[in-house]
């Protein structure tokens, strides 16, 4: 393994992602967990850049960091009193959840290490042209047109449903 600058940055992003995700699931204060989640999302965006998915990385930052994280923080502020900021965890469940998670991780890592088709696939370093144009072609003038329309309707339904569920009931 050679330690070029690229490798160095890749491992930096990988550590950032995994470390902050570990904080998300262990920290007791829910606001701290939310901000760790922000670091995780940025780290995943960096990994997308390494996969030459520039549009995907930008979408990740805009939608996750700019949208979903703000929603989560709003949720924290509207539902947590001063007492609820600390996340309650039961010791027995911590043990059981840890065992299940460790077993799952072992299983996944075994599969990843032993699947022949996934071995020795190195990044050849070919640089793709910016993907935005191609994604636009594929979505609006290609095989993904129908899924795109379906997802649009789904978003509309979800927005109306969210507004309907969360409004105050007017009794008359």
């Amino acid at each position: 393994m050679d330690f070029t600058l690229t490798n160095f940055i890749f491992y930096g992003f990988a550590l950032m992602t995994v470390g902050s995700a570990l904080l998300v699931v262990t920290v007791r204060n829910i606001v701290h967990a939310a901000f760790s989640l922000m670091v995780t999302l940025f780290g995943v965006a960096g990994l997308y850049v390494f996969l030459q998915a520039d549009f995907l990385a930008a979408t990740q930052v805009i939608v996750y960091v700019g949208g979903i994280l703000v929603l989560i923080l709003f949720g924290v502020m509207m539902t947590s009193g001063r007492l609820e900021m600390r996340i309650h965890i039961e010791r027995g469940q911590l043990l059981l959840g840890g065992v299940v998670a460790l077993a799952l991780l072992t299983l996944l890592l075994t599969v990843i290490a032993n699947t022949p088709a996934w071995k020795n696939l190195t990044d050849d370093g070919t640089e793709l042209p910016p993907t935005t144009e191609k994604i636009g072609e594929l979505i609006l003038n290609g095989p993904f047109l129908l899924p795109f329309e379906v997802v649009s309707v789904l978003l509309l339904v979800a927005l109306i449903g969210a507004a309907l569920i969360s409004r105050k009931e007017v009794r008359d």
């Binding site: 965890i89 039961e90 059981l96 299940v100 190195t122 994604i135």
Partner: protein, 102 residues
Amino acid sequence: MTLQHYLVISAILFTLGIFAVLTRRNAISILMGIELILNSCNLNFAAFSRFMTPSEDISGQIIAIFGIVLAAAEAAVFLAIILAIYREFGSIRPDEVDTLKG
């Protein structure tokens, strides 16, 4: 970088997400765990798209974009339900919301 680097990162994210969903007793923390799981899934799509298909085929990235859209819709509905539950029960601890329990 090899494909397995990305798969290992994604597996760790997935496991941490499952751990959060299993152990946390706060609905918003559970939502954070679900977001971790969805992120690991999207990362897998992008990685397989880069390593397993010809480099000009980027369908995997488009699936990941759809995944992000679905995550956004899911988060909006999830938080709306949390707000409704908070108004009804005064708490968002999932084990206290047991009206339907037999």
